[in-house]
Each structure stands twice: as C-alpha cells, then as structure tokens.
Symmetry: C2
Subunit: 286 residues, 2 copies
C-alpha cells in the first residue's frame, strides 16, 4: 500500500486516471450518453453522490458550449446502483459567458422499467476567462498539516466498514473531527479532511464535485449514525484548483425536523476557495 500521506510515486494525469475512466461517457446520440457506473465509488452498496454528480457534470460539459460547471444543482430521486446508466442532457439556454443545461441520470429495473435517479440543472462558464480579482473574506479552515491527519493506512476506525471508495481516495481526517470513530463525537457539526485521489491525479472542476461529498457525514460528529441520504446538493465551482491536495471543511448549523444542511468549502494549495457547496440531507433519528 502506498503511503497515503504523500503522493504516489507515479501520479496519474488529468484525463488518464481512474476517475477519468470511471466518469467517461459513450455518446449514443444527441444528448444521450451511456455509462457503466463503477462499483469502485460505492460505500455500503450506495454509489457516492459526488461521483454521480461528476458523471452528470461531465455529460453537461460535453453538451454545453461552456466547459466548466459554475453552479450545479442536483435533486437525488432514487438510489443509484453500480452498472449501466444513461445520462440525458438538454441545453436550456446559451449565452455569451454562461450557458444553462439540464440533465437526468436514469437506470433500468430488472423488468426494463426506466427509473430516474437524479435530475440536475446547471449553469456553465469558462473558469479561465474570469478576472483574477479576489476579495474573499473567508479563511482556509484551521486544521493540522496533512501528515498529522488520520488516513486509512493508520488502521480502520473502530466500527467502520471498508468500502471501495476508500481505496480510491487519499482522505486524511482532522483528528478533532474524528471523535465519532472512537465513540466520543464532539457534538459539533464539523468534518474536515485533506482530500486527493489515490492515484495522485490532481483536482479539476469535475473532481471538486466529488470532493464536496466524500467525507463522513457531519451527523456522525453530532452523535447520529447510519445513512444520511442527500435530497439536494448544489455546488459552486469558483476557480480552477491548483495542483496538490485539497482541504475540505464541512459544517452543519441546523439539524432539525429530521433534516440537516451540510455546507462544504474546498480550498486548494494556493489557499484559494475553489468550491462551495450546500446539501440538504435526511437523518434518521433513533
């Protein structure tokens, strides 16, 4: 096993990596794209919602005249399964600096009935055409350096279940948000981690769609366990990420009525805020 605290000796390139192969779509006709959803991005048999959003985001980037997702909103309808799926895309509006598209990811039941998994609306632009002004007041999350955070190679967390997605990510969690793993959740709705792909592929706008939904649920640190299915997630990609590992910070301020929001910020190695996301998720209260 490679040392997850450092990049692998041979790094996969953007365009030629596991993530790129597993999000590759085969065009079948105008606005119709075939894909085999990889079992490699599952956790407890559920296909990760960020991986699915990256698949759909890639299909939209191939459909619209602009390549980069600026804001992408996904409503998750039913749970996706590994295997064949179809992404249908539609151009809603084309503008000079922004274009808007819609997409659906569907799969088929055993009897051939089509079941829609996710419906998406998104506005795309060209990140490289944006002016370089930065007046952000947000600060990168306060967290220990990568080598002081906790990764899979440090041994599985007690009670955790190994999952295929864990092998594809180089996720190192801030120990101060790991109380849940030893039965002592902090009570704060916070989760922080260093994030990279295991094969060393650098981040790009599509992999940011994965990064925002790749950490353990904040609900674990609030003292809840079990599945926290996403109802809706919207991601804003604000800048093309610089090479190197990302820092992802997720915060929940409002758990109420059986739902919670997860707000994610993703920072790159240049200390730039490259993505913001918010999802509404359901919790099962024991």
């Amino acid at each position: 096993m490679s040392d997850a605290a450092s990049a692998p000796a041979v790094r996969a390139a953007i365009g030629d990596s596991e993530f790129d192969r597993d999000t590759a779509l085969v065009p079948r006709g105008p606005g119709v794209h075939d894909i085999d959803l990889s079992a490699g991005w599952t956790i407890m048999n559920a296909v990760n919602g960020g991986y699915l959003l990256a698949v759909i985001g890639r299909a939209l980037g191939q459909t619209l005249p602009h390549a980069d997702p600026f804001t992408i909103s996904a409503h998750y309808l039913t749970a996706s399964r590994p295997g064949p799926a179809v992404v249908r895309t539609e151009t809603v509006r084309t503008g000079r600096t922004l274009s808007t598209g819609q997409a659906s990811l569907v799969q088929y039941d055993d009897d051939g009935t089509e079941v829609e998994r996710i419906r998406v609306l998104a506005s795309y632009g060209d990140l490289d055409a944006l002016p370089d002004d930065v007046r952000t007041t947000a600060e990168p999350p306060a967290m220990p350096p990568l080598e002081q955070c906790v990764g899979a190679e440090d041994g599985p967390a007690p009670g955790s279940v190994s999952s295929p997605i864990a092998d594809r990510l180089r996720l190192r969690l801030d120990p101060s948000t790991l109380g849940w793993a030893v039965g002592a959740p902090s009570g704060r709705g916070e989760m922080r981690a260093w994030f990279a792909l295991a094969d060393g592929r650098d981040a790009d706008p599509l992999s940011l769609l994965l990064a925002v939904d790749a950490l353990p649920p904040t609900a674990f640190e609030i003292g809840l366990s079990g599945w926290v299915p996403t109802v809706e997630m919207t991601v804003h990609v604000r800048r093309r990420p610089a090479p190197g590992p990302l820092r992802v910070s997720i915060t929940t301020r409002n758990l109420a009525g059986g739902f919670l929001e997860e707000d994610a910020e993703v920072w790159d190695s240049d200390d730039r805020l490259v993505a913001q996301s918010r999802q509404l998720a359901r919790v099962r209260l024991g």
Copy 2:
C-alpha cells in the same frame, strides 16, 4: 403612511393579501399556469427574483402532492418583465414524504417568441409532518430590536431610488450594515434586516422565498454598486414560520472572479431558523 416599525392596524391574512393576489396563478391546463407578473415587486424595472421564485413555488405546490417547498433551486436565465407570463410545471417523482417537480417561467417577446426566464427544480414535503426535534447550533443574528433599525419611513437613504417593492415590504435594516447608504461601506459582506410584508400578512413558506432575496445586495457593503444579477439561488425551507416579523441575515464570504455567493438565514419570532438560502450572483467590477 403607517408606522413601519409596528404592524398595520388592520393586518392582511395569509391567502387574502397583496402577496397572495400577486402570486395567484390561473390554471390553463395540466401543468400550465397563467399569471400577470405585478409591477409592484420591481426594483429599477427588474422584477424581484424572490417574488418570481414565490410565483413558481406556488405553481409547483399546486402541481405536486406535497404542498411545501423543502428545497427549491432556480437558475435565472433572462430578466423577467412585469406583465403576462406562463409557468409550466412537471412532476418528476412522487414519493411518500417527498415529491420532486420541475418548472419553467416563460414570457413572450414583442414578436411572440417564447423566452424562458427561469428554470426550477424543487423537492416538496409537508412541513407540518416533521418531527419537532431541534439540534441546531446556529444562533439568531445579533442585531438591534426592530424599532432601532432603519426603515423607509426614516427617509430615503442618500442616493437610493424609490422602487415599488419598497412600498410592499416592511424592511428595517440593521444600522451596522447601512454604511453603504452614507458612502461608508463597512467592507464586510453582511446585510441584516427585519422583514415583514407591509400589509401585515404573516410569513408562510412561500413568502420565505421572497424574504431571502429582498435585502440590498451584500456587495454594497463591500463597496460595489450597481446591479448584482442572480445566476442561481437555492432555498431550503426548514420550518413553518411563526407569526410576526422575521430576521434575515445575509453573508458573503467569497467575492472573486466577478462572482459572489450570498448566504441567507431567516429566523422567526420563536427564534427558529426557518429558511436557509444561497445564491451565486455576478458582480460588475468597476
């Protein structure tokens, strides 16, 4: 003029108020709703994006088996104008506790060409069916009591332009976020206000969709002026608001590359966080 610091002597009821009349749709057929967009909710000739979202949200509530918007995502395509419009709605999926729908608001050019203004995806549920658990860690915004905040009856802000929407809202701004109005913006991306409808109608889930987009742009306090058009806005309605004025707090943490996010929280008179929203908007840098 009524004293805007207190409720009007005769309060309009939910279902029988200016807001209800101006969001009323006439069904034309399955999933087709006619409306005359009121000029009363404009600012500088632009129809307010929150009012438009309330119109679309109402059409979806009449289409789906669930009545309340839990999460509603709108991509703003072109600027709406007062006058006739058509809202088309479609049921995407019906579930036991949540249903998902899609909507488009369209208008017609002088030559009869259809122009889409807004495309929306939303998941609806029943707010009254939610458990009453609250584990929120968010706190209501620190702001002065309503009578110490600044409303239209205190005289127009220097340089401000009166707009029809101002007459329909009872908006009282926190003086500490009013520096922009006297040429001394704070530099902080914050805007806070007490919010109510001028005719005293209490808040409901639909008027929350208006409340999140009714304050002056946070960009004003960062020192920018001019129009800040919304690209996309997603609103989570988390609870049916209690009667009485709302507190709305808006924060921008990342102005970069000509775009900014506006995060809104809406608190009711019971100190409950009833809605959260985030929008991506464009800024014109001088």
